[in-house]
């Protein structure tokens, strides 16, 4: 089990258990974490699972691939640590991961 913490725009933190191999988006949806819509169900086709990776984890999580960058164009208030959470795979290396959810999804 990998612990993932979601912090919303007001600072409320929620820590849930992620399953290795699932995505950060799926983990949020499975645990009812608010702030992530995932309209397309994880197909990298909508940009409504947008999160900001916490600065401490940005390097470990890495940068988006080109298809994800294309979809990030449709997100709002995109920052250097922006990722689409349906494209971040949960693994033991990310145990303790912290992501911030935006005030609203596009």
């Amino acid at each position: 089990m990998t612990a993932i913490t979601f912090i919303d725009h007001q600072g409320t933190a929620r820590t849930v258990d992620g399953v290795d191999g699932a995505t950060v988006m799926e983990t949020a949806v499975r645990h009812g974490v608010p702030g992530i819509e995932a309209e397309c169900g994880g197909a990298c086709a909508c940009a409504t699972c947008h999160v900001y990776v916490d600065a401490a984890w940005a390097e470990k999580v890495g940068q988006p691939a080109s298809m994800e960058e294309d979809m990030l164009d449709f997100a709002f208030d995109v920052r250097p640590t922006s990722r689409l959470s349906c494209q971040i795979k949960v693994s033991a290396a990310l145990d303790g991961l912290v992501v911030h959810t935006p005030e609203r999804q596009a």
Binding site: E39, C40, A43, A45, C46, A47, E69, D70, L72, D73, F74, F76, D77, V78, R104, A106
Partner: protein, 350 residues
């Protein structure tokens, strides 16, 4: 003298709202029963979500196809319904649906936002997740500028002549409109959050050439706010890649942030709705209004799965009831395409 800009009213058996995979397959089931259909879709192409959201993505759960792409499925469906010559009305959305018949002899007047009117006996709503409409960037106060300054689509290019236009986006829509408007606008500025564009390389090259010749501007950044008065924009407040704040003077902004699905006018047609879905019975997928059917992702019923294969089944069953409305005097004989010469004749095979 007739008004040449008002399309003539169309009389038909069924109007199908939505030309996605389920709306398309419905043409087949209806066609086997000699029922003619007109389809309406807001996109400029058929195929709904399959064509718009995942044309290249493989689908693994279409019966009979271990794997098929979204666009591949749409192409197969178009071939399958070709014998029935359906008519498509694209780039428009149904805005009004009026009942002009009775419960036992239904009849409807359907009006689209392009002014097309249909007189039909039944309506099949195959609207999927709702109609694809431009996504509005969540910029505070943007609503106030939507009448005069902010537009999500360009209906009449001429209306933007001599304007100072800010186009936001990095895809084909943004680049195409940049190239279309540059010759007639006072000045065009293209803004994108990064200096890398999804649009066709040839369009991007043309844009860069215009920028190099100082015939337009390219700014890298994101719009964070708007300035203006009385609903007329005067500038966009932006944040650059370096987090620096800057302004772009403009009287017009065209944001191209992709499409999102909205229930839209369907909510106003007097149908029972449940959480933005249309309840339908599982015998004929009729809604709370006799003569109006709902098939595919737009409907709901106990056990409903939002699968294309479910929509196909629902269309087949709905067609049986549609037949009773369209041909009340005829007896419906159940036939198989494998053995019925009359069905095969309709399909143009053998």
């Amino acid at each position: 003298m007739s008004n040449s800009t008002t399309p003539e009213m169309i009389s038909t058996d069924v109007v199908i709202v939505g030309a996605g995979p389920v709306g398309l397959f419905a043409v087949f089931e209806l066609g086997l029963l000699d029922i003619k259909a007109h389809l309406i879709d807001i996109l400029p192409k058929v195929g709904g979500q399959c064509a718009e959201l995942y044309p290249e993505k493989p689908i693994y759960d279409i019966p009979g196809f271990p794997v098929i792409t979204g666009q591949g499925l749409v192409e197969n469906l178009m071939r399958q319904i070709e014998p029935f010559h359906p008519t498509f009305h694209l780039n428009q959305m149904v805005t009004e649906l009026e009942r002009i018949g009775t419960e036992t002899a239904p009849r409807f007047r359907v009006t689209t936002d392009a002014g097309q009117v249909f007189d039909c006996k039944t309506v099949l709503i195959a609207a999927g997740g709702g109609s694809f409409q431009p996504k509005k960037p969540p910029i505070a106060g943007i609503d106030a500028y939507e009448e005069h300054s902010v537009f999500y689509a360009v209906r009449r290019m001429e209306a933007l002549r001599d304007r100072t236009v800010l186009i936001v986006g990095g895809g084909d829509s943004a680049l195409d409109w940049t190239l279309n408007l540059q010759p007639i606008a006072r000045r065009v500025t293209l803004m994108h959050r990064r200096d890398d564009f999804r649009a066709a390389p040839h369009s991007v090259e043309q844009m860069r050439a215009l920028v190099a010749a100082d015939k337009m501007d390219l700014r890298i950044g994101q719009v964070t706010g708007l300035a203006g008065a009385d609903g007329r924009l005067s500038a966009a407040i932006c944040r650059g890649a370096d987090n620096g704040v800057f302004e772009v003077a403009c009287d017009t902004m065209l944001p191209f942030f992709g499409l999102t699905m909205k229930l839209g006018p369907i909510a106003e047609w007097g149908l029972n709705l449940h959480e933005n879905l249309i309840p339908a019975d599982t015998e004929k997928f009729e809604t709370s209004v006799p003569g109006i059917f709902a098939v595919g992702d737009i409907n709901t019923y106990p056990g409903k799965l939002k699968l294309i294969l479910s929509g196909f089944h629902e269309a087949a069953l709905a067609a049986q009831k549609v037949h009773r409305y369209v041909y009340p005097e005829k007896r419906l004989l159940f036939q198989y395409t494998t053995s019925s010469t009359s069905l095969q004749k309709k399909l143009g095979v053998n």
